[in-house]
Amino acid sequence: MSVHALSAGEPAPALSLSTAAGQAVDLERLRGKVVWVDFWASWCTPCKRSFPWMNEMLAKYGAQGFEIVAVNVDRKREDADKFLAVAPAQFTVVYDAAGKAPAAWAVKAMPTSYLIDANGRVAFVESGFRDERKAEVEAKIRAALAARK
């Protein structure tokens, strides 16, 4: 069991998963963009609130090179589909039912989100999703986008 925590400044681990449509998504190929990697599950209550916020962030900053990859860790695909019917996502959703990605990314709570800067390094780790943290997290996203230049 790995107790290593993935912290800011470290290079992001590999992430190569497929969307529901079978399209391959690889974090390496998104290098140069600021990526928000979010680990979520249908049974995670804060995730229901985080999805509208992530849609909002993508709408606001997508044109500036912001990308969101949401990794679903449900064992059964139907659970994820039911969740997405209630909380639709305009961002990329990939699936990892085997749970290899959350282990590699040292996920300690659900949801956990990682802000990856344009150089492929972890800029920021956010455990959980709380409304009072939204402003601070958005500021971090803006800072990472500004550092892109």
Binding site: M1, W43, T45, V107, F129
Partner: protein, 96 residues
Amino acid sequence: MRILPTPEGARPPAGRASRSDTGAKLTGALLAAIAVALSGCAAFEPPRAWEKGYLAKPEMQFDADKLDAKNVQHVYFSKEGSAGGYGVGGGGCGCN
């Protein structure tokens, strides 16, 4: 039941282990196998954060039904004078 005495100098038939010897060996082997198998229980790890799907189900909560929980707590209070000592927030997501 009268056990017939073994004649003097009698031995088990040559070439075969006696019954009690085999039995002891088998029991020993079985116990050893059980001990090795049970040692796996010592390597227990709690579920990782992303494996807590089942724990988040409503039937896995202690107080899934609020009304029922209130009733039970009221009964505890009136019958034994106890109060408190229950309740953990969450939903099994491990974020708190």
